[in-house]
């Protein structure tokens, strides 16, 4: 039986890959995590959990012992993305790993409108995340030329249980009852893929020899607008219908919150221990900080306006043709499961 190492197993996608691999083939998976504090979710399974800090050669080398395949999900800042991937690929080659699936992103295409396929050239623009991921793809190509059997997957907007970015935050904003996104700014295409469909693509890439040396976009089967996603999520949460938000007010709020957001970030970066001490010791400070945090969380940024307006479609046809990939979860299915999870976990 091939043992599969999943890096970033404490995260949203990595965690789900571990769960599904374990269910399909108990004993086949080794979960690699950076910090033990991220192991609560995967600890529910009788799987092997090991430290695997992708910034550390010795940590990755140790985690790679006896491994036949690697699913590389770990990510972080640009340096971690690039150097971490280099270390993972290097150690995979050194250990004689037969298959590597690397999770990249459609952010390598930047924020440009249109239809994108694997034939479209990457052009991440100035986005540091997209740039670093584009660089990891180049590393994959380089190691592929050296003989490592690598597949690159470019997921779109992966949502579902445990997704802070695309599920929890939206649900909390909607539940807060103050929605600041006018329909006018949410008519862009929301390329949603439910997390289980993403996992399905990973499994297909691991199993299928046609995947070696290839890059695949992984998207869901539908192309809703962001507005449709927000309304569907709102309905599934059982909330009153979303009222149209004023464009001027939304823009104004985003503009006003910008300096607040930047200042809060700066203070936290420079004085986090002090801030935490004050937070712990003063009820008033705790209340003020929570109010500020909620105000920041519930206000859209300028970048969000841009994203939700973008008319862009990432085509998963190559994955369908070569791997037989078929999304199994409609937006309705995915939202239903997400809302069940959100309620159970008391996020809403």
């Amino acid at each position: 039986m091939t043992r599969i190492l999943v890096t970033g197993a404490g995260g949203f996608i990595g965690g789900r890959i571990v769960e599904v691999l374990h269910e399909l083939n108990p004993g086949s998976v080794r979960a690699g995590i950076k910090r033990w504090s991220s192991a609560a979710r995967i600890g529910r399974l009788p799987v092997e959990i090991v430290r695997c800090d992708v910034n550390s050669t010795s940590s990755v080398r140790s985690a790679m012992t006896g491994i036949g395949a690697v699913v590389h999900c770990a990510h972080g800042d640009s340096a971690t993305n690039i150097e971490g991937t280099r270390i993972v690929l290097d150690e995979a080659q050194r250990a004689g790993v037969q298959r590597v699936v690397h999770l990249s992103t459609v952010a390598v295409f930047g924020r440009t409108e249109g239809k994108f396929t694997e034939a479209s050239p990457p052009d991440p623009g100035t986005d540091p995340y997209g740039r670093s991921k584009a660089e990891t793809e180049q590393l994959c190509a380089e190691y592929g030329r050296r003989g490592l059997a690598i597949t690159v997957l470019r997921p779109t907007i992966v949502y579902g249980p445990y997704s802070d970015l695309w599920t929890v935050e939206f649900a909390q904003r909607l539940s807060a009852g103050t929605w600041f996104l006018p329909d006018r700014y949410t008519q862009g295409i929301c390329n949603l893929v439910y997390v289980d469909d993403m996992v399905k693509a990973v499994l297909l890439a691991l199993e299928n020899d046609k995947a070696i040396g290839e890059t695949f976009i992984v998207n869901g089967g539908e192309r809703p607008t962001w507005s449709q996603y927000f309304h569907a999520l709102n309905d599934a949460l059982g909330l009153p219908p979303l009222l149209p938000a004023s464009t001027l007010r939304s823009r104004l709020r985003a503009g006003l919150m910008l300096p607040v957001r930047k200042t809060a970030k700066l203070i936290l970066k420079r004085f986090q221990p002090l801030v935490m001490r004050v937070y712990q010791r003063s009820k008033l400070a705790k209340k003020l900080m929570r109010t500020a945090e909620n105000a920041i969380k519930n206000s859209p940024t300028g970048a969000e306006f841009e994203l939700y307006s973008l008319r862009v479609s990432y085509e998963e046809q190559k994955a369908r043709d070569l791997l037989g990939y078929r999304p199994s979860f409609s937006m309705r299915d995915g939202i239903e499961l997400s809302v069940a999870w959100l309620r159970d976990h008391r996020y809403v």
């Binding site: 599904v20 033990w36 504090s37 192991a39 529910r44 959990i49 199994s328 979860f329 008391r346």
Partner: protein, 366 residues
């Protein structure tokens, strides 16, 4: 008197009135204490608390199988030395703080009390009721004091809640609800909390050893389980729900390492309902039945952070070692909650998790 000293003194008054057993093990005015296990809790609580007592920390011994870690802790806090094995120093010490992974509590604590070494054990005292009964009995035979760090009993809000129930201020207690859920963010130095390494005992054994202990203490005994379910799939559960009954009271207790609960408790009686927050140790809400009047009880304490109350437990232990006090929370005190946890695991049923079971759809179509 510093603010921290005042905080400890406030708590101490309560502790001296607590019912406990008396230790007859080794006592010394200047005790030698071993800190066994040098993980995150030791660095955050035990060693800082000991370092407030220069005559104790300067004699203390740090013990950890990772000698580098033990040495680093000894150097950081000014302990006398570091060793790998507690067995090597067992003849030199008057007391030991046991902060090894929970699965090792029983074995380590039993060896120590067998040699009449007084022990302050991290919660949970043991993994099973049988182990707890054994170690309590051995401590009683040898005369070693057996203290357990269930420090939440020292919260003024916990003590007041106990008083409101015992004095009948709430009337007959009918309903009990308690929840504790937050993302696991303890800087665990090892994987002993999770999965196979933890023997399949997760949040119930971890957070539950505080909450179930408070529930048993407040309600006057071990309740009968109505149902227990968790989300373990062969590893450590990250969410658990216990429903129980004791006398005329029905209760529900929810725990999670993954969810963000309100972290509150509510105890409803015929005459009044008391509410509190898990992290607010000096405030309670009191609502009289049939009245719109809701009172906020502000309880006197100088404690500003949980560590102020946690270090009170260490102070008590040092006083036990000096022969000046009895344990504020002794082994026998926590036995009902350990037995209850045991019973929960014996009756565990898996929660409904449709978002987890959707993997079957992938399997069916792959």
């Amino acid at each position: 008197m510093s603010r921290s000293d005042a905080a400890r003194a406030t708590v101490y008054t309560h502790r001296m009135s607590a019912q406990s057993t008396t230790g007859r093990g080794r006592t010394a005015e200047k005790p030698v204490v071993a800190v066994i296990g040098c993980g995150a809790i030791t660095e955050a609580l035990h060693l800082p608390a000991l370092s407030r007592h220069p005559d104790v920390i300067s004699r203390a011994i740090c013990v950890d199988p990772n000698l580098d870690r033990a040495q680093a802790m000894a150097t950081k806090f000014g302990a006398s030395r570091a060793v790998e094995r507690y067995e090597d120093v067992i003849g030199d010490i008057d007391g030991a703080i046991v902060a090894v992974p929970p699965s090792l509590h029983y074995g380590v604590t039993l060896s120590l009390v067998n040699r009449q070494v007084n022990v302050l054990c991290e919660k949970p005292l043991t993994e099973t009721g049988e182990q707890a009964r054994d170690v309590i009995a051995r401590a009683a035979q040898t005369g070693a004091a057996l203290c357990v760090n269930n420090y939440r009993r020292l919260y003024p809000s916990s003590i007041k809640t106990k008083e409101l129930i015992e004095t009948g201020a709430l009337g007959t207690v009918r309903q009990f609800e308690f929840s504790w859920g937050e993302k696991f963010d303890w800087p665990a130095a090892s994987g002993s909390y999770f999965g196979l390494a933890a023997g399949g005992r997760g949040v119930l054994a971890d957070k539950g050893s505080h909450l179930l202990d408070l529930a048993c203490w407040w309600l006057g005994g071990k309740p009968d389980i109505t149902s227990y379910e968790d989300d373990s799939m062969g590893g450590t559960e990250a969410a658990a729900t216990l429903k129980f009954r004791i006398k005329e009271c029905e209760g529900v207790l929810r725990l999670s390492w993954l969810s963000r609960y309100e972290n509150t408790f509510e105890i409803e009686g015929d005459r009044a309902t008391v509410t509190g927050h898990l992290f607010d140790w000096n405030t309670l809400g009191l609502q009289m039945s049939g009245s719109a009047d809701r009172r906020t009880l502000r309880l006197p304490t100088a404690a500003k952070i949980p560590e102020d109350l946690g270090s009170s437990m260490i102070d008590n232990f040092l006083d036990v070692l000096r022969g000046h006090a009895v344990p504020v929370v002794a082994g026998a005190d926590v036995l009902p909650s350990i037995e209850l946890i045991d019973e929960c695991y014996a009756r565990r049923r898996r929660m409904s998790l449709p978002w987890y079971d959707s993997w079957r759809r992938i399997a069916a179509q792959s």
